[in-house]
Amino acid sequence: MTTQPPKSEAAAAIGRRLAGHRLLWPALILLALLLGNLAFHHDFFSVRVRDGHLYGSLIDILQFGAPLILVALGMTLVIATRGIDLSVGSTVAIAGALACGHISTAAHPGSVATMLTAVALALGVALVLGLANGFLVSGLGVQPIVATLILMVAGRGVAQLITDGQIVTVTSAPYKMIGGGYWLTFPFAVLLAAALVALTAFVTRRSALGLLIESVGGNPAASRLVGIRAGGLLALVYVFSALCAAVAGLMISSNVSSADGNNAGLWIELDAILAVVVGGTALTGGRFSLGGTVLGALIIQTLSTTVYTLGVPPETTLVFKAFVVIVVCLVQAPVFRAKVLRRRRTTTPRSHTTAGAAPLQQEVRA
């Protein structure tokens, strides 16, 4: 990501570089999906300007995909540390519930100050939730999957508690702006997501932070020995993930002007994990690709849009996505590559294959 090919290099070399680029496959899949949609809807690629706003299927994918991009962004850094955050869906629900709950009871629901307080409230609580996850994982050494599972299930209860089991509806123009508004003809949610992705990419790739996170994910013990504050970094990524999920929750609730404790962000953790692994970040940690995650999230969102436009019951996409998760994880797994893929491609003797696979074995218990 940081090294650009020199201008003097031959075009062939650039082409070869492009073919080996790790974003090539996600980009090709996305392109194929979009072209597939074009076959069904001939105006799929058309983007029009109406009332000074951009309209079109592509813009829709971006706008509805913005929350997923954000959740997946936070998830990428967590997964880079060899962790996982299952609680993002609940955080989405809690953030939306808090913000809508605050606006619906405020004296001036339509004022900018109310909106800002609501946003601050949601982000503040998300910060606490992220710290709690981070403390369990880094302070107490609980497996990430279990630590975040608690909030995943109990968090829905909390969201229900905040909304009192109802769907809280709000009418607030400034709040509507976050998820459904437009700014400079672009959907505001897309701009917000793009800004946060750019900021994260800048901070992790222009400073040593990204490297440190990868080092903690690659080998926590070794990173501690070279003086990296693994505990603090771990806590930081869980806080970041919770904050991203909270912003996504604000977008989702703002877009539909209501908060639903039960269904807001339901199953989004699967989509986010899927986006991250499709984007080329391995679940074993130690390496991450933000560009890949964004592409992955767009692929997932395009898939969902396709399912809707094809008229398939949307619930059944869960089956499809579960298969994709397993296939992508299998293809990424070193053992699978060694046992299945390599055997097919080359005619190396069996003893050679096992010898080559041995150093690739890694600790699978988190």
Partner: protein, 340 residues
Amino acid sequence: MSTGIASAAAHLTRPFATVSPRTRTRIPLIVTAVLLAVMFSVGSVRYEGFLSAQVVLNLLIDNGFLLVVAVGATFVILTGGIDLSVGSMVALSTMLTAWLVESHGWPLATVIPLVLLVGAGSGTLMGWIIHTFEIQPFIVTLAGMFLARGLCYTISTESITISDPTTVGIAQTRLYGPGGLFVSIPVVIALAVLVIAFVVLHHTRFGRNVYALGGNESSARLMGLPTGSTKIAAYAVSGLCSALGGLLLTFYMLSGYALHAMGMELDAIAATVIGGTLLTGGSGFVLGTALGVLVLGTIQTVVNFQGTLSSWWTRIVVGALLLVFIVLQRLMSGRRPAAD
């Protein structure tokens, strides 16, 4: 580790280091027993009719399916793994049973073995993928969780009510004991499963292999134990138990619904952990899991008796309780945190 929270935690991590390991593993169990006793005392003081033998039996009637599922989860957690698919498997079993019996008119005697086979089969498959390709258990079982839930929706997005006379007959059968006390057939099945699991875990070679695998996988392998087949079998047991739990839930609810047993994986894990089984594997008691199920059931009963509390409070309390016991486990274990 030199952050503020981390260093504070480091002081707290090993307060029980001097206690013998054998006693240490018993402490969560004692805490659970005391908790159960306290909840019952408070309940019987606060609510009229709380302290009766039938209320205790009702705990079993209302939670028999959870007991079976949690027993299965105990096997997997003892090996150091985790099975997130149990709740969805339960839902899929209710859905399959209701769909085949109601919409297709299959006899119950055919459906039950089929559902159990589906459960055991999917557990075996997940275990095989986890073992053969060395993928983390959580991601495989998470995919299994979504797959099973998605299959439920594929069958039907609506709830299927069961009116088949045989099923309804079995569901409504009451087995009376002395003093007019009664239990349902699922309670008997659940207790039988508990006894079988106890015998298997503590008195068979497979049980010892499960403990050895959870204690230290590479040591177990070096000792020549069949780690692979043990691991796969543990997930198969979990799948079988969730399918059986799903059947019991079908009898309890008399319906199949894709939204049944939402979040039951947390309940099963919570019951196991509250019952004194270490999440890192290798140490625990299946009878403790039964105690854990009783604790969760009592929470539900208290919420019901209170009447003014909404059901989502149960979720929150279960989550909080799991949190407390996980922290307790960390304090007991005397191991340094993994991040260190």
